[in-house]
Amino acid sequence: MASMTPKTENELADAISSAKGPLRITGGGTRDIGNPVVGDALSTAALSGITLYEPGALTLVAQAGTPVSEIEAALDAENQRLAFEPMDHRALLGTQGTPTIGGMVAANVSGPRRIAVGACRDHLLGVRFVDGAGTVIKNGGRVMKNVTGYDLVKLLAGSYGTLGVLSEVSLKVLPKPETEATLVLNDLSLEDSVAALSAALGSPFEVTGASKVKGQTCIRIEGFEASVRYRAEQLTALLSTHGDVDQVDHNASSTLWRGIANVSNFADHEAVTRVSVQPSAAPALGHEIASKHNLDVMLDWGGGLMWLGMTQGDAAAVAHQAIQDSCAQINAHATLIKAPIETRAAVPVFQPENPTITALSDGIRAKFDPRGILNPGLMV
């Protein structure tokens, strides 16, 4: 199979318009998610560099292949950050390579702070991309508020390269807080943990992380030092009905959340399903599924995001389908993020949607990629 790494947007457009068959599109190749795609490899890794960064306007524009680390370093120098805390999938998936900003957007990758500030898609201000016919298209821009025409920016985020190949993305960035702290409650049941997280998220104390990892229920606050101290006191009092509250400060807190964002404690699991669910429905789903299929459960987003880890890869297909069946009953959705390639080929990696949504999504794909050559079948 051929392999292409265009260096300019024009070369990218040429590569797509002259393609004779399916293309397997990657950024840095660290997020091997979805149904396996067979086709010529097309990487955006060589479309690299920050095009524009205006700290005073909270905006950054970069070519799709720019390493996330390069962007984070540039932001760090101005005491800013990508507030949605994108997950680095390498530890969980055991992949090598350099995560790119385009890959992050294509998979709409967010982390624990999504619960407070929104997802990657909420911070994406504009895109340039090449559609399946090789046409260069732009949508959105580089300003915070923009309702000019349809919002294809959101549509491209999380479309895994199936609608177009991103050439440039424009992102909203935010100031880094002065400090952070994490409150920890130990050994709560799933029910008690979600109740504690809901109480914290429903308080006025601006919680920016709400997770349960192993036995620890973790609640993060960030901001100016005096403010963090004040809110930590208030939350400790609020949560005292749920148990004793320990506190983890600054650097240790930061390390803790990096691990949560990257789901690194599931690195040794052979298969991992990711579930988006109404938080209060998470405990029942967890009990029903976890006990039957011997899964490990990790919660994020106050219970709204469940990571279900399976130690045995060969049982993953059955477990994942059971999870999707349960999700279908409660308007939740499950994605098989990690599994042996033959397992992913055998089950719906993404939650099947209702026939109307499926027809609309297929219709959109047919417009953006009439020949069906962009990562075909990946999102099935």
């Binding site: 005073g56 429903g202 609309l360």
Partner: protein, 479 residues
Amino acid sequence: MDMPQPNPTILSRKAKIVEILQRVLPKDAVIHSDSQVRAYECDALTAYKCPPLCAVLPATTDEVSAVLKACHEMGVPVVPRGSGTSLAGGALPTADCVILGTARLNAVLETNYDDRYIRVGSGRTNLSVTGAVEEMDFFYAPDPSSQLACAIAGNIAMNSGGAHCLKYGVTTNNLMGVKMVLMDGTVTEIGGAHLDAAGLDLLGLICGSEGQLGVVTEATLRILRKPEGARPVLMAFNDNEVAGACVADIIKAGVLPVAIEFMDRLCIETTDNYAKAGYPDCEALLIVEVEGAPEEIDEQLALILDIARKHDPVELREAKSAEEAARIWLGRKSAFGAVGQIADYMCLDGTIPVSSLPMVLRRIGELSERYGLQVGNVFHAGDGNMHPLILYNANKEGDLELCEAMGAEILKLCVDAGGCLTGEHGVGIEKRDLMTHQFEPQDLEIQMAVKDVFDPMWLLNPAKVFPLQSSQSRRIAAE
């Protein structure tokens, strides 16, 4: 302003169309007499008026579905309407259309404080969503100026913003799910009480699609706990550019206020004469509001005031009480009304990178002199969403056209500065023909192709968003 010629066949079949709609709706839900349909002849862009063929007010999703199915079968265009507060003509009828009003879809269907969402009928007004959760100290964040009247349906159609979206985001960032009816009557749900899409993000696509892809009948909205308190500070400067530089410095410093509002001399003086807010005599003023516990507010305001002092302010006024806070906001909140007292005005909505603020303000001043029309600037400075108000006299022949020509130049200026035509009002009919300045033909073509998927016959709000010339072949093919 051009609108497509109404379809004469539809006009001639009015009686039959009304009869068919009356079969699927309660009697009082079909409005068709000449005098009554006039209530729907325009939205808040009042310069353009056209009574619709008729108007319908369905009260359930099933009724919406029945109406759309019937109109689809008859080939009659439908213009969805929330509360009719669009400043862009988003709900302007054509003579051959059925107006579909969402006013009766206004119930609170579910509130869930543990999971922090509310599900409402889309006709519910923005402010009454907060009203429904206020007793538990929660609120719905997007707060367009028209929030007392505007409907969630219209907020979703236009992806509305407001003064506080610097911190909380706009409608699309607070919308979790919808129940929606497609033009052929198909009912579907997208999203819900969970976060993010299972597959393609159709919810993100629906929000801001100006009623062209479907009619939203129910919405699941994120609600938030109210902060412990909020307090504004007023800063007066003798130069617009200095005020603009101060905004950028505040943002860079790491404080994220909930709002940074800007007013120039014309707006300051006009609102002060009208609302007696007691604003200082200056060229530009900023109102910056922060939230939190009292000590947190003190700390943030101290930082912001330190930054402001470096920009040689004429006056810094900190609110010491709720009454003083209300006085600081009084002028800003009455600005549009006050300007309306002295002249007719057209309100623009272009957005620019904050860094271009001084340049764009200067150029607007130059355009004002060239056209001989006064311009007041009052806007959300933190996110670069400008609202230049061009003053004109509706009774003076040619003044409206002059005003529109100048408005077009200002919006092109916003695009050229790296911004966009509209930050929160929508394209509607108002900015339709300027779309080619911001987009290449292929950028518009793919958007229209998306409409083809949802509404192949181009019956939903067909004459909006896209330049008439660009959408002509599709609209004609549909007839």
